[in-house]
């Protein structure tokens, strides 16, 4: 059973639908006991980092997620949910993340040429940096759907794929049982469905 952590940030309809489509049993919850019992966890999220991080802390979910992550349970962060896995973000101030992955979240404006539109909104190609379980059988150059103005930097060994938006931006990370997609697999057509399937098959 896969559990979508519901902490009041973003819309889970499409994510839930896509997981149901691939035949997964899906639960949407914020109950620590249910999170503990789930086989794998997805941390979704759309919106502002500060607000989302505050909601995780206020509900105590930050501690629950850290504990489950330490137990080796597969955890996938999507979009803002991925950014929350890192140490900190520089989105309107400096805010602490969950610190499950090394690196920090910085504005893409710092990296890309001024002529590029922000947010990066649309389909962009994955450039694969190293083999991973989350991108198993995903080929170089497959397109996925991005909507973001910030991206992870200094990821070191967790970096598995980047995308070119005038500069190389972090697209996908994986370190042991912790994984993250900056893009939205639930909105990335067939490629996205295969990525979610990969996550569901991780033991």
């Amino acid at each position: 059973m896969i559990l979508l952590i519901d902490y009041g940030v973003g819309n889970l309809f499409s994510l839930k639908s896509s997981l149901c489509m691939i035949g997964e049993e899906v639960q949407v919850s914020r109950e620590p006991e249910e999170i503990r019992l789930a086989d794998r966890l997805i941390l979704p999220g759309v919106g502002a980092f500060e607000d989302a991080a505050a909601k995780l802390r206020a509900s105590g979910l930050d501690q629950v997620i850290r504990k489950e992550a330490a137990s080796g349970k597969p955890l996938l962060g999507i979009c803002l949910g991925m950014q929350l896995l890192f140490e900190r973000s520089y989105e309107y101030g400096i805010h602490e993340g969950l610190g499950l992955l090394k690196g920090e979240i910085r504005p893409i404006a710092e990296k890309i040429p001024a002529s590029f539109k922000i947010p990066q909104m649309g389909w962009n190609a994955l450039s694969i940096m190293k083999e991973s379980r989350i991108l198993k059988d995903i080929r170089e150059g497959e397109y996925v759907y991005f909507v973001h103005s910030y991206s992870a930097t200094g990821c070191d060994e967790s970096l598995v794929a980047v995308t070119d938006y005038g500069a190389e931006l972090t697209a996908c990370v994986e370190k042991d049982n912790i994984m993250g997609c900056q893009f939205h697999p639930e909105k990335s057509g067939d490629t996205g469905i295969r990525i979610l399937k990969n996550f569901c098959e991780i033991k």
Partner: protein, 252 residues
């Protein structure tokens, strides 16, 4: 690099897809869910659903269809039509929409854009503008193109983006339904005025029109069309293959 998007638009009335020619003469076309699935399979990058019903019953049918589509189709969905309040945003977002486009609702109350952007993020708010030349000036029309607001179009679009719209759909009423190419003059002006993604709408009649659009105005992010896709005059797969041949970045 980021790909140029091809977006079929589905005008939905009483649970069916219809397409107006010059905003009149509506014809029944197909089931929205079937059509959405077909377009997604053929490589559409995104879908726009416009609710052109006014009745409560029509609205209920529309959200049912939206939900069913979002259960089956895993590409971005934008919803427009009759969006006047943040409650309207909430209603369609809960049914699986990713973005919501505002048109007459934002003209009646421009603060709607900012309110929605603060609640759901700029990326969620799309400003859609129906534009027509009146005595040589681009004017914004409201109510499905029936009412001249008197506002100058570029100024209005710039203001909408300033209020928080994260994307703009520019529909040229002059080229809409004519099938002789997009309104390049208008689109160039809009692209020069705003730094958010711009979606071109109105006028596509052939594959060549899309190639011309992306070649002549590289800042345009997407091309939107309805009837030429619905009636099979342009096949999405073929269109994207030709875009690639013309070295336009495209997702195949």
């Amino acid at each position: 690099m980021i790909a140029k998007r091809i977006i079929p638009c589905l005008d939905v009335k009483d649970g069916r897809v219809v397409k107006g020619v010059n905003f009149h003469h509506l014809e029944d076309v197909a089931s929205p869910v079937d059509l959405a699935r077909k377009y997604s399979a053929e490589g559409a990058d995104e879908l726009v659903f416009y609710d052109i019903t006014a009745s409560a019953e029509g609205r209920r049918l529309f959200t049912d269809i939206l939900k069913e589509t979002a259960r089956q189709v895993f590409i971005p969905l934008t919803v427009g039509g009759g969006i006047r309040t943040t409650e309207d945003f909430d209603r369609v977002l809960k049914c699986g929409a990713d973005k919501v486009s505002v048109n007459s609702g934002a003209i009646a109350d421009p603060s709607l854009i900012g309110k929605a952007a603060r609640l759901y993020g700029n990326q969620c708010v799309v400003l859609s503008a129906d534009v027509k030349r009146v005595d040589g000036v681009f004017r914004v029309f409201a109510k499905g193109g029936r009412e001249n607001t008197g506002m100058e179009a570029i100024e209005w679009i710039r203001r909408g983006v300033g209020e928080g719209a994260g994307e703009v759909v520019v529909n040229s009423m002059d080229t809409d339904g004519v099938k002789n190419g997009f309104d390049l003059e208008l689109l160039e002006k809009v692209c020069g005025a705003v730094k958010v993604p711009v979606i071109a709408s109105g006028g596509a009649g052939s594959i060549r029109d899309f190639i011309e659009l992306f070649r002549k105005i590289p800042d345009v992010d997407a091309g939107l069309a309805a009837s030429i896709f619905h009636y099979g005059e342009v096949a999405i797969r073929e269109l994207k293959a030709e875009m690639k041949e013309n070295r336009i970045e495209v997702r195949l």
